[in-house]
Assembly symmetry: C2
Homo-oligomer: 324 residues x 2
Amino acid sequence: VLRGIGEDAAIIRPSARRQWLITTDLLAEGVHFLAGEANAVDIGYKAALANLSDIAAMGGIPHYVLVSIAIPASRSTRDIERLYQGLMRACRTHHVELIGGDTSSSRQGLFISITLIGSVTPGRALRRDGARAGDLLYVTGTLGDSLAGLTLLTRASRNLGRSMRGLSLTHQRYLIGRHMRPSPRLRAGQLLSSLRLATSAIDISDGLAGDLSRLCEQSGIGADLETKRIPCSAALKAYCRLTRRDPTKLALQGGEDYELLFTARPGNAARLARLGRRFGCRLSCLGVIRSKRDGLRLRGPQGKTTRLTLRGYEHFHAPDDRRS
Amino acid sequence: VLRGIGEDAAIIRPSARRQWLITTDLLAEGVHFLAGEANAVDIGYKAALANLSDIAAMGGIPHYVLVSIAIPASRSTRDIERLYQGLMRACRTHHVELIGGDTSSSRQGLFISITLIGSVTPGRALRRDGARAGDLLYVTGTLGDSLAGLTLLTRASRNLGRSMRGLSLTHQRYLIGRHMRPSPRLRAGQLLSSLRLATSAIDISDGLAGDLSRLCEQSGIGADLETKRIPCSAALKAYCRLTRRDPTKLALQGGEDYELLFTARPGNAARLARLGRRFGCRLSCLGVIRSKRDGLRLRGPQGKTTRLTLRGYEHFHAPDDRRS
């Protein structure tokens, strides 16, 4: 950055050897966060995280951030400082520099707009439209933790903490941490990009079902998933045993996991398995990409098949299922 | 742009021969525009314009725009379409391409965040901190028109139109047009940058007094202006005669003129005068840059000196004035 805050615009000198990635998000009070329940540090952290995760899903390296905030009179200066603290906590870890933005008053609620600028080797950006029938479908980390963490936090704030006695403090802390301080999968995205291992990728911010539907739509494909392959953490399993919930359902519908969902040619499966440790997280193969007309199907433990839709999933009997 | 809307981030391939300019603005309902009085097309146009003007003030060429909107339930789809129409009307004129953004619902009012990406020849960006004592102070176009136009619109909406009978329709249309469809001074900025004619520049969005104060602060200088040199349009003069207002006051305090205020070495004065026509607008020399301790002084027609402040201006007698 040659000139940043204080000028009409930030000036950056791009490298001729990199393509630039630009992503932007607008977060609204009452929609993305609630006035009462969220700490300003948490709001800031997650606002930055959503954009860092977008750069991860493209296989890029994040560099610069611009932050605009519309501030209602009800917020104190201390709140805004905390918000920037949270933002910069997420950004600093990845050496992302604040280069500009805008501050405005707001008559009605807090609004935050973040623009993140990253870069990627030319031609190596991971895209949403590259998946083909026959590819394998992978996901990083574990799913559903964030939603379980949010539920724990909500219970705690409503003094229902007692009912979580059966869940160890370690498990509770893990799930809450996954909700409040998720990590963008930048390293995984960069490896997939630099080693050309992914045919497509997307980050999971709206739950596996929603973001897989999006990937399928943009690649013009369908997919077969196996329930037992959906990665769930030990903490999530313990939480689900206690609350009599279905961990698969949480993984499919829970949002804000910020894991990467990607597809790869079957010929790269062995290489992906060997690379596992370098990703810095678990890597799971969920199933296989099918043609568009096959749609999205989830095969359960007893061989029962469920059709997934964008808004969640509904039970149905697939033709081969009906025969049995 | 290699990949735009539909991906996690837009991908752009920068040229090694250009530096990149990034600017962002957040506009809030009730602060930057009112729900009732502004047409969605106008809101969109001016949201884009503020950012285009920032690129103009740096001497850059605008290329790409990202638009995020938080939409309250009270707004119709048609409103949002109109808003984009206005945005794109301002952008298309300058060949600016929409490459991404975000849409969110809003519980409380309409919010628009715009990020504009431009470019400039390396080392040629116009800055706010380059003015030195002895430089001449220039401004493009005329000042105060936008505020007069806004007042006319407000009167019209309150059915006070009759009292404007004394003002010709041409003058009324001109002033209202300057308020509703101001042009970013991109050509002027680009000429100043490419010919290295400006030592500093800023766009006037908060009135001459406010933005000159900002320029002085960032360059660490003061300035002497002459009232009679402040450029006012014939329409503004006619409006002021009729309403018994002081055109200088409107020029100093009126916002949203989006003209460029810049400084140049005295040796370039003749060249600037010759270039006039290529700027596509009037060019006026307002006065001369002084040292910081001289502050901001405005010399009136009778030699009376006024001290300018950030919030407007207040009358005072300068030492040399008191002697007379």
